[in-house]
Subunit: 221 residues, 2 copies
């Protein structure tokens, strides 16, 4: 059986979960409190992060390398388009969300408001929370500009870029940090992706100490 070592509210784990589910690759989910640096886990993944995917005799780490591997090894359905320029645009946006959005928004809101409590590293830094709350507006507006011209974020087909974005936003939505009223096109995009069967397992996630808000799993939010 394939196994994914993950953490429910990790956007990087969620991006891989969405790819696996979309490609109908079954995995057993194993929750990993990766920051506790369990020796067995470090042996599987010297980088010490989630997600880690075990498939047969292989142990795969790094969410982007895993998603590229899944594209190479399980090409249907494709989450990367065919042309070099279209593929570039998907990869640019995956990096946009996993690097820039993560640094400016996810780490500042989710990192301060949830992970500090879960990891036991003190109280949220309010300057960070404020900076994250400000930055998410800019990012939602950027998404709106893209979605004004395209059906999905990177083009007219759904791709890894949508999964990367939805992975971050869904984590933030769990702590009610996304203002869905800011942009109708962004809300419509999220409603489309949220209603996919691949999304179901994310909507069932529960983090102890953080009850799921009512709108989180509601397809008509």
């Amino acid at each position: 059986m394939n196994r994914l070592y993950h953490y429910p509210i990790s956007p990087f784990s969620r991006k891989v979960r969405l790819s696996l589910a979309e490609k109908k690759i079954e995995v057993e989910l194993v929750e990993e409190r990766y920051w506790e640096q369990d020796a067995d886990f470090l042996l599987r993944n010297p980088a010490g992060k989630v997600p880690v995917l075990r498939m047969g005799s292989q142990t795969l780490s790094d969410s982007t390398a895993i998603c590229e591997y899944l594209e190479d090894a399980y090409p249907t359905p494709a989450l990367l388009p065919r042309g070099a320029e279209d593929r570039y645009e998907v990869r640019r946006l995956v990096a946009w969300f996993d690097d820039k959005f993560h640094q400016e928004v996810t780490s500042k809101l989710l990192g301060e408001r949830m992970f500090r409590k879960v990891m036991g590293t003190g109280y949220p830094d309010s300057a960070n929370v404020k900076a994250g709350a400000k930055a998410i507006k800019y990012h939602l507006d950027y998404m709106a500009r893209l979605l004004d011209q395209r059906r999905w974020l990177a083009g007219n087909e759904m791709s890894l870029a949508d999964f990367a974005a939805a992975a971050h936003l869904s984590c933030l939505d769990y702590i009610s940090d996304v203002d869905w009223n800011r942009s109708e096109v962004v809300k419509d995009w999220y409603a489309k992706i949220k209603s996919r069967p691949a999304f179901r397992s994310l909507l069932a996630d529960q983090v102890p100490g953080f009850p799921q808000p009512a709108h989180y799993a509601d397809l008509d939010f």
Copy 2:
């Protein structure tokens, strides 16, 4: 004419320069003091980072997305192998150097000892420098373990993984922060990559205020 907006001692810029040179794609190099957030530069790249590659009407950002694009659009010579598992190993190691090595080593040594001065952000934090000097040993040993079993870092062919690693190490070598005596296989690997024609432009880099050390451009270091 193609243009690469770069900064000489940026490992991400260097990785792209190596890929371009290996594929014999000519570019004009334009030095970009990206931290000054020049308005024209931000227009080209809203992420505000180097490198940015202009090719024809296209403007490409994010070093990993650029390298993948170059593989897709200019496949010969290949810097990614063909099999899904071999490609995964290259991508895992690119991420290893660009994420983990960068965070634990490059940002702590180069960031503190050179970028602070260049950017005018104060004196080096000695705790960071100490942590970086300690972490690089672990990383050199990890490379030695890989190179004990393989001709190049990710397998028996040279790949983007070697360029990512050499991009970081060459920047650190400019400030004499790499102990090449720690591992013979790592030194041999670096000598091989350093002697490639693609590496020449990196060896000619000069940063004002930081004279090149004698061994830096010496192929027999």
